[in-house]
């Protein structure tokens, strides 16, 4: 009876008034949008949003072709090998007692020629190596390159993303790879993350061209080796070695830099343009990269070698989201609410003034109290101010900005 009366009443008044009257009525739980089985999930929505048309966004393989091996032959060999292996009683015993330990060096040697190129390409993609060096091109590193830095107390190899400190990479590394003595190679070390003025460019740290076979020392040094120098606060920079196979002897006089080349603008490099101009004559064949971040040895390097002030950076976080100020904010502590919309400089100034009131120019500051909040408040102090004072005494919150 009551509901029908309500309907009757509701239809009689205009929409404008009814909405204000109906504001207090709760209609219980109801679904917004489509029900779960039918509505798209977040994952579906994101994948639709990030969909790239493969007819437009595709990548090109610019590397060496894979080695031609007869699949059946390889399979036969492997099966034969495994059959022999299963007959080995020693191996069975070791496996049974959980003491079988594979030889890591042999595993690595086999891996680098079988699954290695595919895996290294995947990791390089994860580190954005191809994207930032070659744009829409990629390659499988068919020629394994062994690169290691010789520090005083041992060798540190470069794999595909391991961290090497600038101090450890201060001298030029040893490079070795398998090659015919007639082949010509180019080795370039670049850093796509560290350019000081143009962030789309790279710095070339080392450039050796026309290397006969695997003898790096006989190659033509186009740009001398320069150690990594990631500035403080900028994090980890990728340093990428790429080994190109040359079709013929090439003239790199355009890229030639005399001497140590310590003017960094002269070391500006763009692998994309470099490769684009020479793509008929060179093919990327090997890849190795490491990450380097700031260490304390760089201060000296900046001052003495590069002859410049050491740059220091700080990550620039997005400013916090603060909602629009209301005339009558409900359930908000008024002082904290107002502080969000005030000039932070003014707030800091007030804190500083309050602090300076008790600072004597000649006397030493009094020792900190063991129980700072066990001090009486003089006279009447409103509760919100008491709380603020207590927080300041405990060095909580905004007081930290001026201490």
């Amino acid at each position: 009876m009551a509901s029908s009366f309500w309907k009757l009443y509701n239809t009689n008044i205009t929409g404008n008034i009814s909405s204000s009257l109906c504001g207090s009525i709760r209609n219980g739980h109801h679904l917004r949008g489509k029900p779960p089985g039918i509505a798209k999930s977040l994952e579906q929505k994101l994948s639709e949003k990030n969909y790239l048309n493969p007819a437009i966004y595709f990548k090109v393989d610019i590397g060496l072709p894979p080695p031609r091996l007869s699949r059946s032959k390889v399979l036969d060999e492997r099966l034969k090998y495994l059959k022999e292996q299963r007959k080995n009683p020693m191996l069975e015993k070791l496996a049974g007692t959980k003491q079988l330990i594979v030889n890591m060096e042999d595993v690595d040697k086999e891996w680098i020629t079988t699954a290695g190129p595919l895996q290294i390409k995947g990791i390089a993609e994860h580190y954005g190596v191809f994207e930032h060096l070659f744009g829409d091109a990629y390659f499988y590193p068919r020629v394994p390159v062994n690169i290691s830095f010789d520090t005083g107390d041992g060798e540190i190899p470069v794999y595909f993303g391991n961290v090497i400190k600038p101090k450890q990479a201060s001298r030029k590394p040893k490079v070795s790879y398998d090659s015919d003595s007639n082949d010509l190679w180019t080795l370039i070390l670049t850093n796509p993350d560290g350019h000081f003025t143009e962030n789309e460019r790279e710095y070339v740290h080392w450039f050796v061209a026309n290397i006969p076979g695997n003898n790096i020392d006989k190659g033509e040094t186009i740009v001398e080796y320069l150690q990594p120098f990631p500035p403080k606060g900028t994090g980890y920079h990728r340093h990428i070695f790429i080994l190109y196979k040359q079709e013929k002897k090439l003239d790199f006089s355009f890229f030639k830099r005399e001497g140590q080349c310590l003017t960094l603008s002269e070391r500006t490099f763009h692998t994309y343009d470099f490769y684009k101009n020479l793509q008929e004559d060179i093919t990327p064949a090997g890849l190795a990269f490491f990450q380097a971040d700031w260490d304390s040895s760089l201060k000296k390097f900046y001052h003495d070698t590069l002859d410049m002030k050491e740059p220091v950076f700080e990550y620039d976080f997005l400013p916090p989201y603060i909602k629009k100020q209301k005339w009558f904010p409900k359930k908000e502590p008024f002082n904290l609410y107002m502080d969000k919309y005030r000039d932070p400089k003014q707030i800091n100034k007030e804190f500083l003034m309050r602090k300076m009131k008790n600072v004597h120019p000649f006397k030493a500051p009094p020792p900190p109290l063991p129980f700072p909040n066990a001090v009486f408040f003089d006279g009447y102090v409103p509760s919100w101010l008491k709380l603020e004072m207590k927080k300041s005494r405990l060095k909580w919150g905004r007081i930290n900005d001026i201490e």
Binding site: K109, E110, M308, E314
Partner: protein
């Protein structure tokens, strides 16, 4: 949402007035102030040899994750844990082989080691016994270290403390991979209770 920018100074038209304003700032942001002093000084001397632009961008997609400030999904509070990671370790065993892989929360599978790989299979007696799990863990840990993945989340529960999975996890940890990721570092706001140390400012 984050800006992949590393700022040292803000370029302004009127440097001196901006500078004065900043001085009134009462160490509001000390680091920035120090950089501005530096800029001011370098501007007054002879032109520097190597110019440094005020905004520096590091393009390395893994940099912010390693610095602990990249976005990291939190997951959903009614769901079983398993989404809160940058890199995650997964272990999958089929009838014959075992596969360990690293997943990235955006990039999917990035590294995969299996006992079906010829390099590993060649030296094993069986491809899914305990010895295979242990050796898979050792090889996998080495690959991770070689590719710079020293920390990853792990949501694998070993059913038996001396079983295959537990021994695999132990081999991975012994190999030098930490199976726990640090939490995401959230920016410090003026109203925050404390001012925790920034992870990238800690040098050993």
């Amino acid at each position: 949402m984050f800006v992949p920018k590393l700022t040292s100074q803000k370029t302004t038209k009127n440097l001196s007035s901006y500078f004065l304003e900043k001085m009134l700032n009462f160490r509001y942001n000390t680091n920035k102030l120090i950089n501005e002093l530096r800029l001011h000084r370098s501007a007054s001397t002879v032109t520097p040899k190597n110019e440094v632009s005020p905004i520096f961008t590091n393009r390395n997609p893994r940099n912010l994750e390693r610095m602990r400030i990249a976005y990291k999904p939190d997951g959903y509070h009614v769901e079983a844990p398993g989404r809160n990671y940058w890199h995650k370790l997964l272990l999958h065993s089929s009838g014959r082989y075992v596969t360990a892989s690293v997943h990235h929360f955006e990039g999917g599978e990035i590294l995969r080691t299996s006992t079906s790989d010829w390099a590993l299979k060649k030296q094993l007696y069986k491809t899914n016994d305990t010895a295979a799990y242990i050796n898979l863990g050792r090889v996998f840990a080495q690959r991770c270290l070689q590719s710079g993945l020293i920390e990853m989340s792990c949501y694998i529960d070993a059913p038996n403390p001396n079983g295959k999975v537990a021994l695999f996890l132990k081999a991975v940890e012994d190999g030098g991979v930490c199976l726990k990721e640090p939490t995401q570092f959230k920016p410090i706001r003026p109203w925050d209770l404390e001012r925790p140390e920034k992870p990238w400012e800690v040098t050993e």
